[in-house]
């Protein structure tokens, strides 16, 4: 049973042209195509990892899924029902059932709130329970994320360490009893030695409370550790999807290969192949219709520039790569 389906999901941003261009020369608008025709589904109690470089559209996708940003086109279906245009109580219910964990624990907690108030803010804003019930649940969840309530409820964010702050962030998402969690690089600002603890906490809570997750990270080694399946994105397009181990250990798409090849290995004796790509990443401003990786791809030809392979959601567990040249690559 698929809990969430993204169906040809796209999001474009308009670039405000200069005053002269707009009023006098009447230039047409330019668009940043942040997400282009994305097809993905997420199963019940599954963790989908999304990886890619900055500007690949992973954050835009998350914001759309969380209901804070409307797609330009395409559909988001939650439990088979479209969430586009939801209003009032339904939207409230949806937003409650999808919760986010943010990247930067130094930035994502309001510096003027105490830990208990940060956690209680969601239930209070949505008026979920009466005040006593909220207090009770806040204490319960703080204990569950490893912050004994008697010690932590009164603390301000600046009185907490990075790991403790991230735990408060997790608590404030989970207190809403969500069915789905979107975690946007929750470890990247934390020290190496405590990352594993937070990762374990997320995994434990997921087993215990049975929610689905989208886990965004640029770090493939962590995704390999936490995600069931991994989606690789580049400049708004999906490049490859499949079971985490398959994608990382046996990448098919030239972009994924480069990405995996570029990850340094913590062993001074090991040598890795140097990724064979050229040029720099650009911004997807008015891009041509084809594969956006084509300009940097060693295998690209005219067919790559002309059109783009879309992923299908028919078999969620299939390992698919959005590439015309898979045969050549496999041979070479």
């Amino acid at each position: 049973m698929e809990i969430l389906e993204l169906d040809h999901l796209s999001r474009h941003f308009e670039i405000q042209p200069g005053f002269i261009d707009r009023v006098i020369r009447r230039h047409p608008m330019s668009y940043i195509k942040a997400v282009e025709s994305l097809n993905v589904s997420i199963g019940n109690n599954e963790i989908l990892g999304i990886a890619g470089e900055s500007g690949c559209g992973k954050s835009t996708t998350c914001t759309m899924v969380s209901g804070l940003l409307e797609p330009t086109s395409g559909d988001i279906r939650y439990k088979g029902k479209s969430i586009i245009g939801l209003k009032g109580e339904e939207l409230r219910q949806y937003r409650r059932s999808v919760q986010m964990i943010f990247q930067d624990p130094y930035e994502s907690l309001n510096p003027r709130f105490r830990a208990a108030d940060i956690v209680a803010e969601g239930p209070r804003a949505l008026d979920l329970w009466d005040a006593d019930e909220i207090d009770h649940r806040v204490i319960e969840i703080l204990n569950a994320v490893g912050l004994p309530a008697h010690k932590y409820t009164e603390r301000f964010p600046h009185e907490l360490s990075g790991g403790e702050r991230q735990r408060v962030g997790i608590a404030s998402a989970l207190v809403m009893e969500p069915e789905m969690i979107i975690a946007d690089e929750p470890l990247s600002m934390l020290d190496v030695s405590i990352r594993a603890g937070i990762l374990d906490l997320i995994k434990e809570l997921q087993e215990e409370r049975q929610f689905s997750s989208i886990y965004v990270s640029h770090d493939l080694s962590i995704l390999g550790n936490v995600a069931d399946r991994v989606l690789i994105m580049y400049l708004g397009q999906a490049m490859e999807i499949g079971p985490a181990k398959d994608v990382i250990l046996n990448p098919r798409h030239p972009y994924t290969r480069a990405l995996v090849g570029a990850v340094p290995i913590p062993d001074p004796r090991s040598r890795r192949a140097i990724p064979n790509i050229r040029g720099d990443i650009s911004k997807p401003i008015d891009p041509p219709p084809g594969c956006r990786f084509a300009p940097r791809c060693p295998h690209a030809d005219s067919s790559c520039q002309a059109n783009f392979v879309e992923l299908s959601t028919e078999d969620p567990n299939a390992h698919q790569a959005a590439c015309h040249k898979l045969d050549i690559i496999a041979d070479g």
Binding site: E53, V192, D200, P264, I265, I274
Partner: protein, 342 residues
Amino acid sequence: MTKTATPEPLLSIRNLGVVYSTSQGPVHAVSNISFDVHANEVFGIAGESGCGKSTLIRSLLRLLPDNGRMDAGLCQYKGQDLTAMSDEAFRKNILWQEISLVPQSAMASFNPVHRVGDQIIESILAHRDISRAEARERSAGLFDVVGLQSDLMNSYPHEFSGGMRQRAMIAMSLSLDPGLIIMDEPTTGLDVLVQERILRRIREIRAEIKSSIILITHDIAVIAEMSDRIAIMYGGEVMEQATAVDMFENPHHPYTLGLKNAFPSIRDIGSELISIPGSPPTLVGPLTSCPFAPRCPFNLDTCHQANPESINIGTSHQVRCIRTADAKQFRKLAREKSTWRS
């Protein structure tokens, strides 16, 4: 990449300490640091936030804020005693000429209101008596070395992408052929493919020039790939120092073991990651115990009573731990998750 140590080190530091006076009392951000950097080597310093990395850099470059005070048993560069040098002489003869910096945040380290090229030219003209045109030519050459087109010199920093800014920073650090380049987290915050290009560029530059590099980062994989020798810092001290291969194959300090377990490798995904419980010390007041003792699963009572001295084990391998004899057993125990749950 491994080299035998040359007899005369390029930079030699002994017992370096930095104390900040704060409202909470003296903070010993860095204490008892000793290391040598040899000619033409990459010396990696790894550590997490608050371990004293930035203070170490600032003290080497004399950029400590007013409330910071540095004392060092010895601070020698090419045989010259740096501590005896006046600020003015240090600024004129050492800064950038001999020791240059690639700062942590290339984004914020370029002055936003001046052109990138001008900022590089400025660093040349401050120390060399050449014409502006010559300095410009030289900068264009440096842009070429780091793989940037020389017409980008006329751009402002905000027009550069993160990777380009970092490359321009590296170009600037090379502008006077310094003997030593300090690179502070040169790839942190960059995307993997951009990081890959920067690292490749640094390797290429190393082959061409004779500068030594101090590479400071929290990313153990980067340090493993790039460095000849590595120092692991914690609580303002160097916990363990060894050649890169030695550090990874024969680690001794419990903190090194913990750090290795906590760091994922793409080569073996699915293996369990283990975190070190607790958080780093605040360093207020002098150290009277091993700074890692409160988080160490192998601590003894003596660990809390005195700060251990650095012990030599092997020719160029030092460990600041009293239980080096049990290291072999620790290495096995450290792989168990239960060991780290106190």
